[in-house]
C-alpha cells in the first residue's frame, strides 16, 4: 500500500519531465516542417521556376514571368499559414470549451454561419470593403456559435458531444442550402461567391491579407491566453468552479477568441472545414492534453497542414489547381467518421 503510493508520484514525475523535453523537441520539428513547407509553397506550382528567379523575387524583383509567379505565391503562402494557424487554434479551443472531440469550426456550423452572413451582406446589402466583409463574417460566426450551442444543449443531458455535433452539422447543411438559395439566382455575384464558397487561398494578395491581421492578432492573443482556463475546464465544470475559475466567463472569453479567428479566416478564404478537427487530435497524440502546449502546437500544426494541403492541390491537378477547401474535406471527413465510430455512444 505505502509502496504503491510512493511509487505513483515518482512515475508521474518521470513522465512529465520526459514529455516536456519531448514537447520541446516536437515543437522544433514542427517549426522546421512549417519552414520547409513555406519554402516549398513559394517554389512549387503550375510553373517551375529557377532558383535564381526565386532569390530575385524574394528581393522584390518582378522582371521575368518566373519572378512574378513567385511574387504571387508569397502572399498566398502567408495567407495559408495564417488561416491554417487560426483554424487549428480555433478547433483546439472549441474542443476544449465543449469537451467535445467532434468540435470544429466547420462541423459546429461556425464557418458556415460566417459564410452565410457574408453572402447575405453581399447579396442584399451590397457590402464590398474588406473590413465590412470581416465584421459581417465575425458577426455571423458568433451568431452561429451561440445558436448551435443553444440548440445542442436543449433537452436531457445538456450539450453531449453527439448532440452538439448533430446540431452543428444540421445547421451547417441548412445554412449551406440557404447560401445556395441566395447566391445561385444572382448571376451578378454567383460566380465569385461560388468560388469563394469552396474555400481556398489561391489568388491571395497582400491587399486582401493585411486587413485581417489585426483581427487575427487579437484572436490569437485571446486564445493563447485562455490556455490555463481551458485546462481547468477540462476537469469538468464543477471542479473548475471549485478551483476558483469563473466557468461561464472563461468559456465566453475563449469562444470570443475562436470566433474572431474563424470569422476573419472565413472572410478571406471562405469556409474551410475539418482542419480544426484533425489538427488538435494529431497534436494531442504528440504532446498530450495540456492546453498550454496544445494551443500553440495546434496553431503551428494547422498552418503546416493547410500549407501542405494547398501545395498538394497545386501538384495533383497540374496544370490546374484544386482548392484547399476540397482537399481538407477529402482528408478531414474520413477522420471525422473515424472519431464518430470510435466514440463510445451512450445516449442513442
Amino acid at each position: 500500500m505505502t509502496a504503491a503510493s510512493i511509487k505513483i508520484p515518482v512515475r508521474v514525475h518521470g513522465i512529465v519531465a520526459r514529455s516536456n523535453r519531448t514537447r520541446g523537441l516536437w515543437l522544433l520539428v514542427l517549426v522546421a516542417v512549417l519552414a520547409l513547407l513555406s519554402a516549398l509553397s513559394v517554389t512549387t506550382g503550375t510553373r517551375d521556376v529557377a532558383w535564381a528567379e526565386i532569390m530575385a523575387a524574394l528581393g522584390g524583383g518582378q522582371e521575368t514571368i518566373g519572378q512574378a509567379a513567385v511574387a504571387l505565391r508569397m502572399p498566398r503562402t502567408l495567407l495559408a499559414v495564417l488561416s491554417g494557424a487560426a483554424l487549428g487554434l480555433a478547433g483546439a479551443i472549441m474542443q476544449g470549451i465543449t469537451r467535445n472531440p467532434l468540435a470544429d469550426p466547420g462541423i459546429l456550423g461556425v464557418n458556415m454561419g460566417a459564410s452565410l452572413a457574408v453572402v447575405i451582406g453581399v447579396a442584399w446589402f451590397g457590402i464590398t470593403s474588406a473590413h465590412a466583409y470581416i465584421w459581417t463574417a465575425i458577426l455571423g460566426a458568433g451568431g452561429a456559435a451561440v445558436f448551435v450551442y443553444t440548440i445542442g444543449s436543449l433537452g436531457r443531458g445538456g450539450a453531449t458531444p453527439l448532440k452538439l455535433a448533430l446540431a452543428g452539422a444540421a445547421t451547417s447543411v441548412a445554412f449551406a442550402s440557404l447560401v445556395i438559395a441566395i447566391v445561385l439566382p444572382r448571376g451578378d455575384i454567383a460566380g465569385g461567391i461560388q468560388a469563394w464558397q469552396i474555400g481556398g487561398v489561391g489568388g491571395a494578395t497582400y491587399d486582401r491579407v493585411v486587413p485581417v491581421l489585426p483581427f487575427l492578432g487579437v484572436g490569437f492573443a485571446i486564445s493563447l491566453l485562455s490556455a490555463r482556463k481551458l485546462n481547468s475546464l477540462a476537469l469538468g465544470d464543477d471542479v473548475a468552479a471549485g478551483l476558483g475559475e469563473h466557468v461561464a466567463t472563461a468559456r465566453a472569453v475563449a469562444s470570443l477568441g475562436a470566433i474572431l479567428l474563424c470569422g476573419a479566416t472565413t472572410a478571406v478564404c471562405g469556409p474551410i472545414g475539418f482542419l480544426g478537427l484533425v489538427v488538435p487530435h494529431l497534436c494531442r497524440t504528440l504532446i498530450g492534453v495540456d492546453h498550454r502546449w496544445l494551443l500553440p502546437f495546434s496553431a503551428f500544426g494547422g498552418a503546416a497542414l493547410l500549407l501542405a494541403a494547398d501545395i498538394l492541390g497545386r501538384i495533383v491537378a497540374r496544370p490546374g489547381e484544386i482548392d484547399v477547401g476540397i482537399i481538407t474535406a477529402l482528408i478531414g471527413a474520413p477522420f471525422f467518421i473515424w472519431i464518430v465510430r470510435r466514440q463510445r455512444v451512450r445516449d442513442l
Binding site: L102, I151, G152, L154, G155, R156, L162, K163, A165, L166, A167, A169, A170, T171, V173, A174, F175, S177, L178, I180, A181, L184, P185, G187, A190, G191, Q194, A195, I198, G273, F274, A317, G320, I322, D323, G325, I326, A329, L330, A333, P334, F336, I337, V340, R341, Q343, V345, D347, L348
Partner: protein
Amino acid sequence: MPSPTIDLLAVNRRRRARRHSIALGLLLVLVVVLFGFTLSVGQSVIAPMDVLRVLLGEPVPGTSFTVGQLRLPRAVLSILSGLCFGLGGVAFQVMLRNPLASPDIIGITSGAGAAAVFAIVVLQMSGPVVSLLAVGAGLGVAVLVYGLSFRNGVGGTRLILVGIGVSAMLQSVIAYILSTALSWSLQEAMRWLTGSVNGAQLQQALPLLLALTVFGGVLLSRTRDLEALRLGDDTASALGVRVSQTRMLVIVSAVGMIAAATAVTGPIAFVAFLAGPIAARIVRSNGSLLLPAALVGAILVLLGDYVGQVLLPSRYPVGVITGALGAPYLIFLIVRVNRTGGSL
C-alpha cells in the same frame, strides 16, 4: 358475443382507416389539381379546355407548343421526381426511425449526384447510362455509410453523423468537378447543386417511370413489414418480419428511386427529407406513410417549381425554393428532436 371494448376497437380502427384513405384521396386530388393548374396558368393563361385538347393529342394553334413542349414535360417530371424523392425518403426515415436519416442528409443523394456529374462532365456520357451509374453510386454510398456506422448495431445518431461526413466529401468532389468543367454553365451547375427541372423533356420521364414501377412496387409491397419495423427491430422480428431481408430490399429500392430521380433532375434539395414529416402531420393516424409521403413529394416539387417560375420576380430553379423551405424546418426538427428525443 363480442365485448363492448372489442367493438370500440373495431370502430376506432375503421375510423382511422377511413381517415387515412380520405387524406390520401385529398392529396391525390391536390396533385391532379396542381398538375392541371400549372399546365394552364403560367406567364400566360390557357383555357382548361384547350389544355385538355392538347393532352388528348389534338393540335391547338398557339398553345400546343406552350403546353405540350414547355409545361407538360416540366409538370410530368416534377410529379415523377417528387414521387421518387418522397417515397424513397420516407422509406429511409421509417426504416431507421429517424427523420434526419433521409437520403439527402446522409449522403446518398450526393453520391448519386457526384456519379452523375462525373459521368456527364468527365466521361461525356448522357442518357440512361448516367442514371445507371447514379443508381450504382447511390447504392455504394448507402452500403458504405451503413457499414461505417455499424458497430454493435447501427446507432441512429452515429449513422447520421457518418452520413454527413461522407456527404461532405462527395459535395467537395462535385464542387471540384463543376469547377473544372470546360463549359462552366451556371444552369448546369445549379442542377447539380440544388436540383431543377429546367429544360425538361418527356423522354427523361422514362427512367423515372421505370424506377417508380419496379422499386416503388417493391416498397409498397413491403408496407406492412416497414410498419412493423417502426416498432423496433426486436418487436418486428417477433411479429414475423424478416428484418434484415426487409431492410436490404427497402435500402435497394429506396436508393434506386432516389438515385434515378437525382440523375434526371439533380438533388432537389430537402424534398426527400420534408415529405415524410409533412405527410405524418397530414395523415396523423397510424396508417402507412409511404403513399402520402410520395404524394406530398410530388406536391412539393410541383409547387416549388411553380413558385420559382411564375410567382417570384425572377426565375429560380425548384431546388432553391425547396432548399429555402427545408433549411428552417431542419433546424426546427433538430430543436424538437433534442427537446423530446422524438421521431417522425
